[in-house]
Amino acid sequence: MWPLIIIGGIVLVVIFALIGIYNALVRLRNQVDNAWSQIDVQLKRRHDLIPNLVETAKGYMQHERQTFESITQARSQAMGARTVEQASQAEGMLSDALSKFMLVVENYPELKANQNFLSLQEELTSTENKIAFARQGYNDQVLFYNNKIQMFPSNVVAGMFNFTKRDFFEIENAAEREVPKVSFS
């Protein structure tokens, strides 16, 4: 009788441990997905900001049609991107176009004094930062998740239920690796 109870107890403890590890893995995986979606949210926010920015700046900068065109074009390409590769390329182009635009703004002191433009500028700076921090946060989360599914004993459970490693968000262009700098002053 006693051996049976002891064995039953051990089995119960193991089952509970497995459930705990499984739940922890699911939670981590969801956090990774959530961090990934944060990047999308911020990219979308940037797309939404651009028409306002262009509209406000146009009145002051009649001679910069080309700058506006490259921004608008990069934006529509980024919005129409189908694959991750296309998207990251188009977003990179958009970042470049925006930083060029911000350099040109330096020549228009009246625009820089415009209250509406100032607040748009703060929103844009912040969105660029948020995109960078969302990438950083995603990579942190992937690190925890990958560590968890490689370390004992959670790796056993991960193998049983097919939890696979996730990739880090790498930016190929070395210049892009820095937090996007949009200079204003």
Partner: protein
């Protein structure tokens, strides 16, 4: 990074246990002093009851009480977009489950704190002076420091330890005051009792209780402060890990240290929550200060040149301070290469003291619900929230503008 939470939790439980023991012992001794040999347990029960009541209150709305006692006002994105954006940036970087609530404190002294029970219900409060004095990078450093406190669960610890400290202070204050008044009012009762044999023991108990009532709050405070100093370093390390830019926090701390305005709305219990010691002027003894010397924190941050991971902070700490690291070894071991980044363009800008004061005033007015109007002639008007009517006349050109339809 999250490994340190576990170490923190163990230390916190140890500390809270010690404070609980101090509270129980105090209750027991005071009970003995008041009610004779049987009074010990009654005292114990009363101490527990006081703690329980304070605990329930602080869990139900402790953060609200702290925020209200610091005169913090909740604000929306429109009042200060930059503050709101910076908080959201750090929320994203730290993967917090929810955006912390943002508060502004109506004071010129630059300071900030975070409170709440968990990352889901956290709040961040900054003073108007801080917003006016710091540039974007520096503000980001300060907010990252506060968000690190949230991630490390320091906010819960401060609440729990603060309640324990509050109970101990309350009990000993009640005892000391009742001793004072009873010795004035009914000294006859005590003298008649002391003539009997039993009373002799009572007198000894009262002396012991007096000593306990004076010492317990001091001991508890020392314990509380000792751990909060260590937490400040950890939060600095976490802030660098989040922003990848140690200079932002370093120069923010420098500006905060250089400011001599004391924070009116801070007290002994709330002091450890702030990013820097809120009491200026009076020189705090080393043991008694809740924060490590700010110059030391700045030196450690400025010495970080290779990367922004916990290991880099820890290396820089042992180099500058010359002591063993304060970062838990598990977090150092898990070090990953983390690159530093450059300053954003705004960093070099520095406004005059006068401009800063005017900006702080404007922030306070915005928090207070003032309407800001710009007349066509360029003059800016600030209309108080209790202004009656909806038209104002420009004092320079005489044009009429509408208050609400700006």
């Amino acid at each position: 990074m999250w490994e340190q939470i576990r170490v923190n939790r163990r230390n916190s439980i140890l500390l809270l246990g010690m404070m609980a023991l101090a509270l129980a012992g105090l209750g027991f001794v005071l009970g003995l002093a008041f009610g004779g040999p049987d009074g010990g347990f009654i005292g114990l029960i009363i101490a527990t009851a006081v703690w329980l009541v304070l605990m329930l209150v602080s869990f139900a709305g402790g953060d609200q009480i702290l925020l209200a006692s610091s005169k913090a006002v909740p604000v929306t994105h429109d009042v200060h977009p930059q503050l709101f954006n910076v908080v959201e940036e750090m929320k994203i970087a730290a993967n917090l489950p929810k955006m912390p609530k943002v508060y502004i404190i109506n004071e010129m002294a630059p300071n900030a704190f975070a409170t709440g029970r968990s990352p889901e219900s956290a709040s961040v409060a900054v003073t108007a002076g801080l917003l006016a004095k710091l540039n974007r990078d520096e503000l980001q450093g300060v907010i990252a420091h506060e968000v690190s406190h949230i991630v490390n669960r320091d906010i819960l610890f401060v609440t729990l330890a603060g309640v324990m400290l509050g109970s101990i202070v309350l009990l000993s204050q009640v005892f000391l005051r009742s001793m004072f008044y009873s010795s004035m009012g009914s000294s006859r009762r005590y003298s008649s009792r002391s003539s009997s044999n039993q009373g002799g023991g009572q007198i000894v108990m009262i002396v012991i209780a007096l000593i306990a009532a004076i010492l317990a709050p001091i001991m508890a405070q020392l314990l509380y402060f000792a751990l909060s100093r260590r937490r400040e370093y950890l939060a600095d390390a976490g802030a660098v890990r989040l922003t990848r830019y140690p200079e932002g926090l370093a120069s923010a701390l420098e500006k905060i240290a250089g400011d001599r305005t004391p924070l009116e709305a801070a007290n002994n219990v709330t002091a450890p929550m702030y990013i820097s010691m809120p009491f200026k002027g009076r020189k705090a003894a080393h043991l008694h200060s809740t924060h490590p010397p700010i110059e030391e924190r700045i030196r450690v941050l400025r010495n970080m040149s290779r990367g922004a991971s916990f290991k880099d902070y820890s290396d820089s700490y042992s180099q500058t301070v010359g002591k063993a690291s304060i970062v838990p070894p598990s977090a150092v071991k898990a070090a990953e290469p983390v690159e530093l980044r450059g300053a954003s363009a705004e960093a070099g800008r520095q406004e005059s003291r006068h401009t800063q004061q005017r900006q702080a005033g404007d922030i306070m007015r915005k928090v207070g619900g003032f309407a800001f109007l710009t007349c066509d002639c360029g003059i800016k008007m600030k209309v108080p929230p209790n202004f009656k009517g909806d038209k104002v006349k420009c004092p320079r050109c005489g044009r009429i503008s509408s208050v609400h339809g700006q």
